[in-house]
Symmetry: C2
Subunit: 174 residues, 2 copies
């Protein structure tokens, strides 16, 4: 059966951790790995995170999570996929995010993109996200994508995945 799937950008499609780490390294000379920051919030890991997020090019040049393109492409053939990003807080990011999606995920059309402030208004069967604040209010099947900031926490409400290959398996689109 065709399902509606809401897929987050930052920390799920886009490797923002590595981008934060690079910006932090440029500023402080130390390159952190995900292992260094397990269980630590993004803000505590990278104190100048707001500065990075508000700088031109941050979202346009962020890397892609491994296997995200091929697995999302398969999901998109079988299901109704929406990319749902809480991007309204960062107005500069809106056009950068659109361009980024267009470049790396050209099979996603403008009709499938949602930029919001809160995700409480989103209706879907499945939500894939790396933040509890988005998944906890969601009424459908919730999939928590592992990122350092959420790695040591579990409230028993969500299915945890560590990679897009796991999503491929769980959602049966191999």
């Amino acid at each position: 059966m065709k399902k509606t799937i809401a897929v987050d950008m930052d920390g799920v499609l886009a490797d923002v951790f590595s981008q934060f780490a690079l910006y932090h390294q440029k500023e402080f000379g130390v390159l952190y790995t995900p292992e260094d920051k397990m269980g630590i919030s993004e803000l505590d890991s990278f104190p100048n995170i707001h500065q990075y997020i508000h700088s031109v090019g941050f979202f346009r040049n962020v890397g892609i999570m491994p296997n995200a393109v091929e697995v999302l492409s398969k999901l998109n053939e079988k299901h109704q996929v929406y990319i749902v990003s809480a991007a309204i807080e960062f107005p500069l990011s809106l056009n950068e995010k659109l361009e980024w999606l267009q470049e790396y995920f050209p099979f996603i059309t403008w009709k499938q993109i949602v930029f919001c402030g809160s995700k409480q208004i989103i209706k879907a069967d499945i939500m894939i996200d790396d933040h509890f604040k988005n998944l906890d209010y969601f009424e459908g099947q919730s999939i928590l994508f592992t990122q350092p900031h959420n790695a040591l926490f579990d409230n028993g409400k969500h299915i945890r995945v560590h990679s897009w290959l796991e999503i491929e398996k769980i959602l049966n689109v191999q």
Copy 2:
């Protein structure tokens, strides 16, 4: 009881008809009124509409529908209001729409704004919109805001209102 209300921008908060008419007048020298265009689609009314929509300043300088500010302000005090605009098709409009909302509806925070392609992913109790294509798939209470393009059609599925004062009355926030 607090309800979640999804409010459209173009044709509901923003008087895009008058803006289309002004742009058309500048090009062709004829100023149409709403009465001239009853039952006619926006594209048939203004053949160069796509050009207007894609030009810098169109959405930043659009007028406000009468009484929209005061009634939305009251709704916002009593209910959970979201502004939901199908704006992703027009990337140029995103920042203009944010600035416009910030100027005229400063009580609406970034957390309450949603830009999407399709509104089929929106979950709310009430949706106020001027397009059947958005309301027809909506599962909650749907309110059709009269605009020339929808004025002569009725599929019996929605409550029709002609003004924000009517919304004030129907949703009981006088």
